[in-house]
Amino acid sequence: MNFTLTEEQSLLGDAIDRFNADRSRRRGVDASEGRGRPEATGESMRALWAGLAELGLAGLLVPETYGGSQAGVGGSMADVMVMMQAAGRALMVEPLVATAVIGATLLEADTDLTRRAQYLDRLVGGDLLVALAHAEPDASASMFRVTTRAQAQGDVYVLDGRKSVVLDGGDADLLLVSARVSGSADEAHGVSLFVIDASAPGVVRRDYATLDGHRACELMLDAVRLPASAMLGAPGEARALIEHALDRGSAALCAEAVGVMETLLAHTTEYLRTRQQFGQVIGRFQVLQHKAVDLLVHLEQSRSMAYLACLRADAPDRDEAARAVSAARVSMARSARAFAQTAIQLHGGIGMTDELPASHHARRLSLIEFWLGTREQHLDRYMALAARDEATSSA
């Protein structure tokens, strides 16, 4: 048991912090102020992403063979934890989770080795943005209901359906879309993953902002015709892969939440130490002190659960991995919500303004809470896995 970062990991975290600090200085805003949104600065997402790729972030999870994970760091979810905490601290909006975590995980599983090498090479270089389009408008408790259809017609597949709230999907070059080749909506088997060029005919994206300043899209697939080779992996057996990718994504979000909380707690205690009311700094009021303590407790619990999620997400026993990740998500979801609300309340009116960083952090926490599964979805999943575990151990 060992919670210590390697030296390389510490350096990685520092490098990202420095990168963000530099970038903020160039933009004339504080690194932690959540002013990182490209549309606010006129910078292009592509250029920003290229910068991050140079730092090694785009390919952090990609094996060295494909040009990723260099200099003794990378290739593991522990590294992702370090990266995402730093990303959270600076409220980065680049598609780290969508491309570097989920996208890289899926593309690495490609059984078409030529394509795998090609795409991973572009991904590592910052030249390829990827988004997984999996969730559908009709929410499901399981997160694995798929009604989008992939009909085999001769040697092509025709895809019809709709995917919802595809985070970073609007910018993506490549959409990885889950679709059903057989079976009914909730069946575990029968789901395949398709690699679709975002510009393919029949692909319509409706792009919009999310409450924290990310972008997401609704994805309409209207008779999208794909060659059989567009399928990634064995037909109908993509669920395990998608689940693993989503678990890695969820673990990354748990780590990002920790970073966001770190900065927001720092801002909040700073405010409590300086804002004066009734002739004293408001941090002297015991009720506000105790609420600030609640924040710290949420942060420390979330930090613990981020370790758990990141270090177990790749466990060989998939159920164990899933149970740890969903437990972490349940815990993080509650903490993220309470943290955001309490931090705003402690700031008072000023915490409600767009001007102050606090509200930006609070909004990011809301995004993280809801993306890749709600608290209730993860709780149900945890319970189902725990029940399965008991059934096995008593059998």
Partner: protein, 396 residues
């Protein structure tokens, strides 16, 4: 003891219901029920309709042109109008400055300003908070220096709701340095169109423009616009605070929102089932509904216990009222799931530009959830309310 409404009260409710059904413009009601943005004109149109009927000020005493409605009548009016989707009445004139003018204003102020409020001619706003004095109101620094028959007002107010729409502002200003900070404060009625007033928007975390900074640069205010005595403004302000909080219970609107939660639960599906049939969701709706019953009963108890404005127990109503309002939007977020994430400001405009991004009822949700964080902060934060209760009711 009797919980049932009397025959007279039932008849009153029926009259209000019939009137609202006939007179509330459908486009306005649609925007309220769909949580879309309301324009200044929406508010003014509805308040004009009520003013013509005399109901804008039904709760006022007859001698000021009101109808002497009983507390129960006021409650029924609130409930019926809220249920139908009427905009909430802008309270700054009607319920905040008016009682102060009635109690402490000069005959001229009473005949002039009260009459204009009754006719819905002025949009009022409130100049209390300043950048350095939020919870600690008595530390305010905006100064009013006497110059002949005028005060010259300089300083800054903040968090001024709808200052961008307002014709008049009532202000706490410092006319002298007292031994205690509560001394030397006066209560002025200021024309927002006066030279020297600048309004700067504050954009909230949901992207909306509701509140403002108001700057006063040597604004000349006639002395006759001072309410009551110079230096006694703190007394008038405290009098006012008791009134403000009562409304914040917001029972009528919360009842409407619970109904809307129930509709949402029928409309949204999880695994093909309506959410209304998902036990964890159904339970939370029921619990909120029960909390709201308790709040409504408490409001009715407080209202019927006195004809005067309620005292510190109003703080209890504010606490529970805002907790319930926040619980409602939180539950809506949980029901929305992934559709809690889209943030489509256009969705606030009527017409549902949120289309194509999940169920249209959910389009304004994220913004509303964020916006509702304010209710436990404004009008005296919930922490301040608890301080008041601890000191005033519990004697701690």
């Amino acid at each position: 003891m009797d919980l049932e409404y009397s025959a007279d009260e039932m008849a009153f409710r029926e009259i209000v219901r019939t009137f609202v059904r006939a007179e509330l413009p459908a486009d306005i009601a649609g925007r309220v029920l769909d949580h879309r943005r309301l324009s200044r004109d929406d508010h003014v149109r509805w308040q004009d309709i009520l003013a013509r009927k005399g109901w804008l000020t039904g709760h006022w005493p007859r001698r000021f042109g009101g109808l002497d409605w009983t507390p129960v009548q006021c409650h029924l009016f609130d409930e019926e109008t809220a249920a139908a989707g009427a905009p909430r009445l802008i309270p700054f004139g009607l319920n905040m400055v008016a009682p102060v003018i009635m109690a402490f204003g000069s005959p001229w102020q009473q005949s002039h300003y009260l009459e204009r409020i009754r006719q819905n001619l002025d949009w009022w706003c409130q100049g209390y908070s300043e950048p350095g004095s939020g919870s600690d109101l008595a530390s305010l620094r905006t100064s009013a220096v006497r110059d002949g028959d005028h005060y010259v007002v300089s300083g800054q107010k903040t968090w001024t709701t709808y200052a961008q729409h307002a014709d008049m502002i009532f202000c706490l200003v410092r006319t002298a340095q007292g031994a205690r900070r509560q001394e030397g404060i006066s209560f002025l009625l200021i024309d927002m169109h006066s030279p020297g007033i600048t309004v700067r928007p504050i954009i909230l975390l949901d992207g909306e423009h509701e509140v403002n900074e108001v700057f006063f640069d040597a604004v000349r205010v006639p002395v006759e616009n001072r309410v009551g005595e110079e230096g006694r403004g703190w007394t008038y302000a405290k009098y006012l605070l008791g009134h403000e909080r009562t409304n914040i219970a917001g029972v009528g609107a919360s009842k409407r929102e619970v109904r809307s939660l129930r509709e949402l639960a029928e409309q949204l599906r999880r695994d093909g089932q309506p959410l209304a049939r998902v036990e964890s969701i159904a339970r939370r709706i029921a619990e909120i509904e029960i909390d709201l019953m308790a709040l409504e009963m408490t409001v009715l108890r407080v209202l019927s216990a006195r004809t005067e404005a309620p005292g510190p127990e109003a703080s209890i109503l504010k606490l529970r009222g805002t907790e319930i309002q926040q619980a409602i939007t939180e539950l809506a977020m949980d029901m929305a799931g992934q559709f809690a994430l889209p943030f489509v400001p256009q969705a606030f405009e009527s017409g549902g530009v949120g289309e194509g991004v999940g169920p249209s009822a959910l389009a304004p949700l994220a913004a509303r959830y964020l916006n509702m964080r304010k209710v436990s902060i404004y009008g005296g934060s919930n922490e301040i309310q608890k301080n008041i209760i601890a000191q005033t009711i519990l004697g701690l």
